[in-house]
Symmetry: C2
Subunit: 377 residues, 2 copies
DNA sequence: ATTCTTTCCTGTAACGTTACAGTAGCCTTA
DNA sequence: TAAGGCTACTGTAACGTTACAGGAAAGAAT
C-alpha cells in the first residue's frame, strides 16, 4: 500500500505518504527477543506433570490433588500463562466472543458508545471478547446475523432496533443460537431482552406536560417499523385520554428523520391555529430539531410550549434545562445484556429473563420552581 | 441443559449432535436441524482430492491446476464454506483480530461510535474482526495493551489519546507488535498514525475570530498530558502573534473538565475587565460549557463574543450555527486506521505512513452575512 | 533408453487444548 | 487373600488448518 490514499476518504485531507524508509538505523522488523508464550506443555514440563493434569488442575477438576493444584496454579501465575484462545476454541467449539450488530443509522448522541462501554465493561470480567459488526440497514436485514452464524464467529449475538416481527429473532431462535436484544418483539418468542419502558415513558411525559399546564400534545415517535414505536404511541394515547387532553397528530416524520424535515414539519405544525403546546420526543436529536422548528415559528420554549425528551447523556440537563428529560441508561443496558447473553451461553441464565427499565422524568430545579409557582415562567 | 453436551462442534456455536433424533416436538434447546459446518475435509471428500489440495486451491497457490481450482471454488461456494478461524489461528498464529482500546473518559458526542463505525466498515471487507476493549484511565496505562499482547488477543492494536511520551507506543514498539494510533507522539518513533492537524486548526480558528473582529482570544484546550494539547497551543499562539492579537490565559480547565468547572471558570473570566471576546475550544462539549459560562456572565454569543469549536457531528451546525465549527471526521479516521493497521500486519504498508487531516472552518450562511456586513450582528 | 524438469497433487505433522479411556497405587471390605 | 473401590495422575486422539517434504505422471533433453 505504501502511501496510497485509502479509498473512501472524504475530501479535505492531505496525505503525507512517506514510502521512503531507507535509513535503517534500527531494523524494526526483527523483534529482539520474541518472548515465547507459555503453554500447558511448558507448565507440565516444569512441574513434572502431564499436560492433561495441568489442564485439569487449572480447571479445578475434582480428581486432582489439592497440593498439585496449588503448585500448578503458582507456576501458571508466575509464568503469566494465559490459555491460547485458538486452542480452546478449536477443541471446544466455543469462541468466547460476543458479537454486537450495530446499525449506523440514527446515531443518537453516542448511545452506541455507551452500549459498547457497558458491554465491554461486563465482558472483561467474564473473559469474553466483544466484536462489533456493522449492519447496512439498506441491505438484507439478516445479513450480518446470518454470516456470524455461518462463520461461527461468536457464541452469542446482541442487537437492537427490534421490529415487532423481527426476522433476526426468528432466524436465531430457529438455529438455536444464543442472543439477547435491546428492545422486544411482539412475537411471543422467549429470549433475554433489555428494554426501556417506552409506554410508561410516554405516559409520564404526557403527565408531566399536563402538570405544566399543557393541553394539546403531539408525539414525535420512533420510526414506525420499530417495535417500540407502538409502545410509545400506546402510552402517549393512554396519557392523553386518562387526563382528558387533546392529541395533535404529526405526520410523516419520526425520530430518525433528517433534521431539516423535522424542523420544517414542526414549524408548519406550530403555525397552525390548533397547534400543540406540548411535544413528546422519542429521541434526543429529534427533540432539538423539534425545538428549533417551534422556535422558527416564533414560539418560546417554556412559555408557548414545552418538550419532553428521552436522552442517554446529560446534555439536555446541562445545556437545555428548559427541556424536560427522562434518562435512558445505555451503559447499564450494555452491562445487563452482556451478563444475560453470557448466562444464556453458559446455561446459567433462564431464557425468559428480561429487564424493563423504568423511566423517570427528572425534575430540574428550575422546573420545580415552575411547578410550585403553578404557572409558566 | 437438556441433552448431552456436544463432544466436538465446528464453529462458535454449540451444536447438538444431529444423530440423536429423539422427541421431535420442540425440546427447547435442541435445534431442529443442526447444520454441520463444512470443512476442508468435506470439500476434499466431495471433490475426491486431498485436504491440502483443497486448502491450496482456495488460496490460489501456483501449483494447483486451474481446472481443479475452479472446481474446488465452486464446491466451497455451494457449501457455503468459511474457513474455521480457530483452525487458522492455531496453525498460523494469526488471529485476524484488531483490538481497539478505548478510554471511556471524555466521550465527545459519539466520537468513539464514529471511530468504531469507520474501523468496522473497513475491516469487514478485509476479513478482520474488531474487538473493543475498555481502558480504565485511573489504572495502569499499559494495562489493556499489555494484556492483549500477552494473551495474543489481536494481530494489531489501535488506540488514541496519545501522550507526548507514550508508554504504550514504547511498549508495543519494543515488542514488535503492530499498532496504529489516532494522534501522534513527540518520541520520534516511526509508526502509522492518523492525526487531526490541531496546530492548523487553532491557527485558523484564531484567524476566523480575527476576521469577525475579535481581538482578545482565549483557548480552552485539551488536557495538557495529551500530545495534541501542545499542538493546539502552538497554533493558537502563532495565530495570535501573527495577527497581533492579545491572548488571555485560561487556568485550571481543559476540554475534559466537568461542565460545571468550565462554566464557572469561563463565567469568572468573562466578568473581568480584560475579558476575551473570542474563545477557541478543543472539544464540542467544552464549547457548550464555555458558551453557557459566557452567557451566564450576561454576554451574547455573536455579539459580545464568538466561539470556534472542533466537532465530529453536525450538531453545532444544525442547532447552534452561531458557533463556528471545524469538522473532524472520526469515521474517516477509523477507516484509515483500519487499513493502515492491516497493511502493517500483512506487510503491505510501510511503517511510517501517516495522515494529517486538514481542518477547515466551515462558514455557515449566517456567518457569511456577518462577514459581508463587516460587523457583528 | 535414461535422466531431468515440470506439473499437479498428497500425506504427515504440528499449532494448544480438552474429552475420554485408561492405570498404578493404596485403602476398604468380605 | 482377593475383590472392589477409591485417589491421583497419564497418554492418546481429535478439533481444522497450513508448512513441508515428497511423489507420480508426463513431457523434454540428453
Amino acid at each position: 500500500m505504501g502511501g496510497a490514499a485509502p479509498s473512501g476518504t472524504t475530501g479535505g485531507f492531505a496525505l503525507i505518504g512517506n514510502m521512503v524508509s531507507h535509513d535503517e538505523t534500527r531494523s524494526e522488523d526483527a523483534p529482539a527477543q520474541p518472548p515465547v508464550r507459555p503453554t500447558l506443555k511448558t507448565i507440565a514440563r516444569l512441574a513434572g506433570l502431564g499436560v492433561t493434569t495441568v489442564s485439569r488442575a487449572l480447571h479445578d477438576a475434582p480428581d486432582i490433588g489439592e497440593e498439585t493444584k496449588a503448585r500448578v496454579r503458582r507456576l501458571a501465575e508466575s509464568l503469566g500463562y494465559q490459555p491460547n484462545r485458538a486452542g480452546v476454541r478449536l477443541r471446544t467449539g466455543r469462541s468466547h466472543v460476543i458479537a454486537l450488530v450495530l446499525a449506523t443509522e440514527a446515531e443518537e448522541l453516542g448511545i452506541n458508545s455507551q452500549l459498547i462501554y457497558g458491554i465491554s465493561e461486563a465482558l472483561s470480567s467474564l473473559t469474553y471478547q466483544l466484536v462489533v459488526m456493522l449492519h447496512d440497514p439498506s441491505a438484507d436485514p439478516l445479513g450480518p446475523v446470518r454470516s456470524i452464524v455461518e462463520a461461527g464467529a461468536a457464541d452469542g449475538i446482541l442487537f437492537a432496533r427490534i421490529e415487532p416481527d423481527d426476522a433476526r429473532v426468528r432466524f436465531l431462535t430457529e438455529r438455536g443460537v444464543p442472543f439477547a436484544t435491546h428492545g422486544r418483539t411482539d412475537m411471543g418468542i422467549v429470549h433475554p431482552y433489555f428494554d426501556f419502558d417506552n409506554e410508561a415513558y410516554a405516559e409520564s411525559a404526557v403527565k408531566r406536560l399536563a402538570s405544566l399546564g399543557r393541553r394539546r400534545l403531539a408525539l414525535v415517535g420512533p420510526p414506525p417499523h420499530l417495535a417500540y414505536a407502538r409502545h410509545m404511541a400506546t402510552g402517549f394515547c393512554r396519557g392523553i385520554s386518562t387526563l382528558g387532553l387533546e392529541k395533535v397528530s404529526v405526520e410523516g416524520i419520526d425520530t430518525d428523520s433528517p433534521h431539516e424535515r423535522i424542523q420544517a414539519e414542526v414549524q408548519r405544525l406550530m403555525q397552525r391555529a390548533d397547534r400543540p403546546d406540548g411535544i413528546v420526543s422519542g429521541g434526543a436529536v429529534a427533540a432539538l430539531s423539534v425545538t428549533a422548528g417551534a422556535e422558527a415559528a416564533g414560539l418560546v420554549l417554556g412559555g408557548d410550549f414545552d418538550v419532553v425528551v428521552k436522552e442517554s447523556s446529560d446534555l439536555f440537563r446541562k445545556f437545555r434545562p428548559a427541556i424536560e428529560t427522562a434518562r435512558e441508561d445505555f451503559r447499564a443496558a450494555g452491562r445487563w445484556l452482556a451478563q444475560a447473553i453470557v448466562g444464556r451461553i453458559e446455561g446459567t441464565a433462564d431464557a425468559d429473563i428480561h429487564f424493563l427499565d423504568v423511566p423517570r422524568i427528572e425534575v430540574s430545579e428550575t422546573m420545580d420552581e415552575r411547578v410550585v409557582a403553578g404557572g409558566i415562567r
